[in-house]
């Protein structure tokens, strides 16, 4: 089955990392661990990955990076408790427990 997405790891350096021309032509999605999802078989996406020196990952490799980040965030959330605090108060204080993420093919 043809891939819909390709993945890379690249650190967002701010201004110029994604410019308006690229954003107009490509749909970007970012995930924990500096994982970026862009369209597969797309000239503009390939040029952007090269521009940002993205380290190309397979979908499974990218999923493993995201999973590690989410697991760490979940552990941190579980360990962050205040004595006497209700579940609702905890969510109000630090937000919902981090949810699992499944990357698209």
């Amino acid at each position: 089955m043809a891939k819909t997405y390709q993945y890379c790891v690249a650190e967002n350096w701010g201004k110029g990392f994604i410019n308006h021309d690229e954003s107009f032509r490509i749909t970007f999605k970012s995930f924990p661990g500096n994982v970026w999802q862009v369209p597969a078989y797309n000239k503009h996406a390939n040029l952007w990955v090269a521009k940002v020196a993205g380290v190309v990952k397979t979908r499974d490799e990218a999923q493993a990076i995201v999973d590690a980040e989410v697991t760490a965030a979940q552990s941190a959330w579980d360990a962050n408790n205040v004595e006497g605090e209700t579940a609702e108060q905890k969510i109000e204080r630090i937000g919902n427990r981090p949810a699992d993420i499944t990357l698209g093919e």
């Binding site: 999605k29 980040e69 919902n96």
Partner: protein, 324 residues
């Protein structure tokens, strides 16, 4: 046979690289790329990355425009008093709020702003005024709410509407107007809302969008009352907004939404997505052609400091002519 010179009046010019001075529709030969190119314009708005906040956070206050914005308060996830100023490229830390808090309402500009109310259960009614250098406490709001909508020109004129309440009904329809000295209760929203988006440059002209209670609803304030207008296409909560009551954008929302919609005063149109989808994002901007998204919270729950800059449709882009 028709030629480019005959049609346009000049021959195709040769440039080594992108011809930045080209006007819309102009053709040139890029001798570096070895291809013919022409100037086009974007047909939808898009987001580009900007400089990241120094303190990653969500549920923060944000005011100003794309090249002169202010971010204040928020959760890291602990409540923070940090305030930062954006110059169109980078965020610089400036003087903190007097009280660390999140889920606050916001109004004004980067040199004259107001931050009001805050999270349930702690120092809820405080109102602070920014004079371009520091924050000072001013008169409290009448009825505390978390995540209220905010609009207004500066620290002397603001509007606070909707939001969550710590007791009683979960959401509120209350609206209060600030005249630089005190808050006065005015006409309620048509529908009580919490975790909605609010924007507007005057306390007599504001927009309230989405939120729990009416996730796809839009209400417009004319200085006297709220009027229900066209729904957004994708209803949501914890979304952000920027612009005026007749020219605005909404973006982000729970959970992990990257969608952006553009308001022209009558209807909403979906356009380019954020690269970083999230909720509880800070927003600022002049209108639906120029906006700023900063900070936020991803579905895993983490705070981030990413900034994205919105430019509406009509930006110049270079197209390459290919032959096959």
């Amino acid at each position: 046979m028709s030629t480019y010179k005959k049609e346009v009046g000049t021959a195709v010019q040769n440039f080594a690289g992108d011809y930045t001075g080209a006007v819309q529709g102009q053709l040139w030969y890029n001798s570096t790329a070895g291809s013919f190119q022409f100037r086009s314009v974007t047909t939808t708005g898009s987001w580009a990355t900007g400089g990241a906040l120094n303190t990653a956070r969500f549920r923060l206050g944000g005011v100003g425009i794309q090249t002169a914005a202010l971010a204040f308060g928020g959760q890291t996830p602990a409540n923070t008093a940090a305030t930062e100023s954006y110059d169109g490229s980078a965020w610089t830390e400036v003087n903190d709020l007097n009280t660390a808090r999140s889920a606050l309402g916001d109004a004004g500009t980067s040199t004259s702003a107001l931050g009001f109310s805050g999270p349930p259960g702690s120092t809820p009614v405080q109102n602070e005024s920014w004079n371009g250098t520091c924050w000072s406490e001013v008169a409290d709001v009448n009825a505390f709410r978390g995540d209220p909508g905010g609009a207004g020109s500066d620290n002397t004129s603001a509007l606070m509407f909707g939001g969550t309440v710590p007791t009683g009904p979960e959401t509120s329809a209350l609206t209060e107007s600030w005249n630089g000295t005190s808050w006065t209760e005015v006409a309620d929203l048509n529908i009580a809302r919490g975790n909605q988006a609010g924007t507007g440059k005057l306390n007599t002209a504001a927009l309230c969008v989405g939120g729990s209670g009416d996730p796809d609803g839009t209400e417009q304030w004319n200085g006297t009352c709220w009027t229900t207008l066209a729904n957004i296409n994708s209803g949501r909560v914890n979304l952000a907004a920027a612009g005026t009551y007749t020219s605005a954008i909404v973006f982000g929302g729970a959970e992990d939404i990257a969608l952006t919609e553009v308001w022209n005063g009558t209807s909403w149109t979906e356009q380019g997505d954020l690269a970083q989808g999230g909720k509880n994002i800070g927003g600022a901007g002049a209108d639906n052609t120029s906006g700023l998204a900063f900070g936020g919270q991803t579905a895993p729950g983490a705070a981030y400091g990413d900034t994205e800059e919105w430019t509406g449709a009509g930006s110049p882009v270079t197209e390459t002519i290919t032959t096959s």
